[in-house]
Amino acid sequence: MDVNFEALLPELLLTLVACGVMTIDLFLPKEKRGLAFPLAFIGVLATLAAVLNLYGQNLTTLDGMFVVDRFAVIFKIIFCVAALLVFAVSQAYLNDDKDVPHGEYYTMMLFSLLGMLTIASSRDLIAIFVALEMISLPAFILAGIRKYDIRSNEAALKFFLFGVLSTALMLFGMSLFYGLTGATNLADISAGLAGRTDIDEVALLAILFLIVGFGFKVSAFPFQWWVPDTYEGAPIPVAAFLSVASKTAGFVGLFQVMFLGLGELADMWRPMFAVIGIVTMTFGNLVAIQQKQIVRLLAYSSIAQAGYMLVPLGVASATDGALNTQIIFSVVAYLLVYAFMETGAFAAATAFGRKTGKYLIEDYAGLFGRSPALAVAMAAFLFSLAGIPPFAGWWAKFVIFKTLIEGDGLVLAVIMALNTVIAMFFYLAVVKKMFVDKSEDTAAIAMPRSLAGAIGIAAIVITVGGFLPNLFGQLAENANFF
């Protein structure tokens, strides 16, 4: 069997980088441990270059298990960019937190990233499952990496237990599809399911089990309970990584399985996603209103955001390829914008909490007077998450609305519209604290260049993208299977 190593180049490169960082770190003297950051950063940059090199190509290798098409490449770009941003945020965070070892931290992130790159190309249930595990396992360790902090332990343990349980159920679901069709390759499954009429009950059950696994990954209701505690207990950059990269990976797997493998059964899973999406966003928004801590607020907000990205699947069709293309387009567009605004918000929270050690929303009072640039950037991220022009979030919401209405999901669109208004309450509450309220503390917030750079880049991207959304649109348009 021939292996197309060109198609595998980014993954191979990243494996080398991860192992390299791990090994080199072993031989570094203690005071030079910071070297892991530049190594990892450059390594991911090189991987990104290798990914970009594959843009526009259509390669299939390993018996159709590993595919490099535009869909895969665009997601790999998202993963690499998100990882770079998170690395830049981590650097500042790790320099302050002496308990976290640099080498292990970056190694784990690189391994997790490797799983993400792999899942974007995997077109086989076993490969998808293994890739998901590859993403999760390092993430469990990352969540608990501040091992002397009991909250970090709690974060890791909760995350681990939920993760193991949900992936076990997902594996059971996958095995049922193998039992139904005798195949693990998505295309073969799709062919095996075509025209079958005797499988309703079992398929429904199997889909439910699959949704448990992906629902955990994207933090959909009712599999989201771990999210706030884990985000709060883990180092903030790890929370950013989980809420952006890991969630995106969940959506990648979901798209591949649902559209490529189970497209025939769309009538069966469509209503499930409609319900889950609506409940997830409503739950996330309503609970977020009551939060007093910024990371928990962002956690619930990220749950709500997952809801926005799930509802479009609630209008999918078994026969209408154009509509499905539009669904994938809208969610990919949302994920593109989301990667920047969500990472940006977490980065701003890191910048504020890192020196002051404060994570309560109350503490943000008067930030505009203390550090105007940071306050403006944070406000931009929050407005973008809320979907208010001129920040790119408006466009992300817009394409979702457009998809819902195109798919005759007017009710879904109306509920989502009400949700965006509810969400505005808590985003505005933070903005109000920063700009309207006064604080006694007037010291400016200092931050290192890498962190400021990450925040600045994210802010610029979502502002420019708000005026010229086609920058995202062109990328997202390419990401489809049909």
Partner: protein, 161 residues
Amino acid sequence: MQGLIFLVVAATSGFAAVRLVTNKNLVHAALYLVVTLMGMAIIFLLLTAEFVAWVQVLIYVGAVIVLLLFGLMLTRAQIGKTALDRQQRWVAGPVALVLFGVTAPVLWRFFDGRTISLDRQSGNTEALGTEIFTKFVLPFEVVSVLLLAALVGAVFLAKKD
């Protein structure tokens, strides 16, 4: 005959699995785990997948459980009743029962009477090896990296600075 053996094995490992999670003594729980995993190995054997069966015995029963027991006994982990009980079994129990009650009949109805022929050689070692190193080489390689990551993570979490 096969069906009978299956029933006995399944019932035994099912019972052991229940005891595994309800038992408050960790060592006993580990021993119940041995029973469950052995049951799995026998089921693999019944499906003529000898290689997988022996791997199951060697790795899980032989290595994992032994390591687990060593770990329990050598460290000063509390072996008896623990205080970490969140009293959530009254929620978890019914949920599990409902899940079972829904899943089992559905699977029974669908797969009842469907057979697969066991002479396909799919369980034999040679075929399995070929499959793993050709068709499934990607998951295989990913798993190897995954194990490396797990190893590093485990060492990190376990070591004292």
